[in-house]
Symmetry: C2
Subunit: 189 residues, 2 copies
DNA sequence: AAAATAATCGAACACCGTGTTGATTTATGA
DNA sequence: TCATAAATCAACACGGTGTTCGATTATTTT
């Protein structure tokens, strides 16, 4: 006895795959429901049976991605108490490498800016929370500034890495990120 | 004898003001020529006399902004040889503060992602060129990584600063950015 | 294997914004 | 005042949207 919604799942998967594929070459605003359905080999009416418009579809894809990231990071972060920060950073870069296709879409030129910002914002929050107690003497705005800087820096580093074809290993990237965060320009010995 | 294209300039200014105002609350993809012209109190036909579509208008606005940035930064950068890096950074943050309205639109949720990326890319390039010779022992990818990180970090810092209402002075921001770039987490003494 | 169910399809529909055109009105400068 | 150039207005075909049918197909149940 298969899932009675088996066909629906296939339909949704086809639409998601078509949209992510199209987002590699066009911004969402240039993607029409018509073309999307042609690509997915689906009737246009079928699209409207499941989604209100392309933005609705993207939202659901992003929610799924966010859940996927949380699921992938959860074992890493739950073990973070026992691991040293470099190991956590390394695991995160490995996670990005393993999901490079999706990450490229998100971070690439036509990825949703707000989705990236939200990712940044939430990672800044977690870093801030877990590190706040270590810097009792710093002013709040300085702590905020530092974590804005380093999360933005890591994001830019990841973006550059994905764009350039991930020639370096996740280990080296994580190592670089850690060293820059800790010691600044001394990284370039 | 006024400029014979006086009326055209007014029309264009009205359209630019209307678009930048609307970009505070909506993404470009949600802005129609119809609504734009209603807001600018202009006939729709008049818009098409000057621009092909809203993207064309935005491109021209961005080109104007980019020229404005270059003009504002030119005296700073041309004097950079005589100034120490912290002074340059300070002047850049002052420049951002002076043009906060426009910067907020660019960097805000509905600003053009590609425009920001292009700004980042070109500032990374200039930093890279002017600093390359100081690090003969570092591998090329490390230099690339460092400057990706710090330009992305500065961008994120600026974004955060603008979003939070610019409570700190440009001097403090510049000082923070310099210290983080140079010494990393030691900034949070 | 046949019937029942649910999803997809295909076609038609009104709606709205687009981009263009041509005639008309308004403002500017000579 | 007159000539010129720009803004206005109305109308147009076009294309994508979102909806609604009934028909068709695939899956599950009996």
């Amino acid at each position: 006895m298969k899932n009675p919604e088996h066909r629906v799942q296939i339909t949704k998967r086809l639409l998601r795959e078509a949209l992510t594929a199209m987002l590699i070459e066009k911004p969402l605003s240039a993607i029409t429901v018509k073309e999307l359905c042609e690509r997915a080999q689906l009737n246009r009416g079928t699209f409207y049976a499941h989604y209100a418009d392309v933005y609705d579809l993207l939202e659901q894809i992003e929610a799924e991605m966010a859940a996927g990231f949380r699921a992938a990071l959860e074992p890493i972060l739950s073990a973070a108490g026992e691991l040293r920060p470099p190991a956590v950073t390394k695991k995160i870069f490995e996670c990005i490498e393993a999901n490079a296709d999706l990450c490229r879409v998100i971070v690439g030129p036509y990825g949703d800016k707000e989705f990236g910002r939200e990712l940044l914002r939430s990672s800044k929050e977690s870093c801030l929370k877990s590190c706040l107690r270590f810097f009792p003497s710093a002013e709040p705005w300085q702590i905020d500034a530092y974590f804005s800087f380093v999360t933005g820096g890591c994001y830019a580093l990841m973006e550059c890495w994905l764009r350039e074809g991930m020639k370096e290993s996740p280990e080296r990237l994580a190592d670089a990120a850690e060293k820059i965060m800790e010691h600044g320009i001394a990284f370039l010995g």
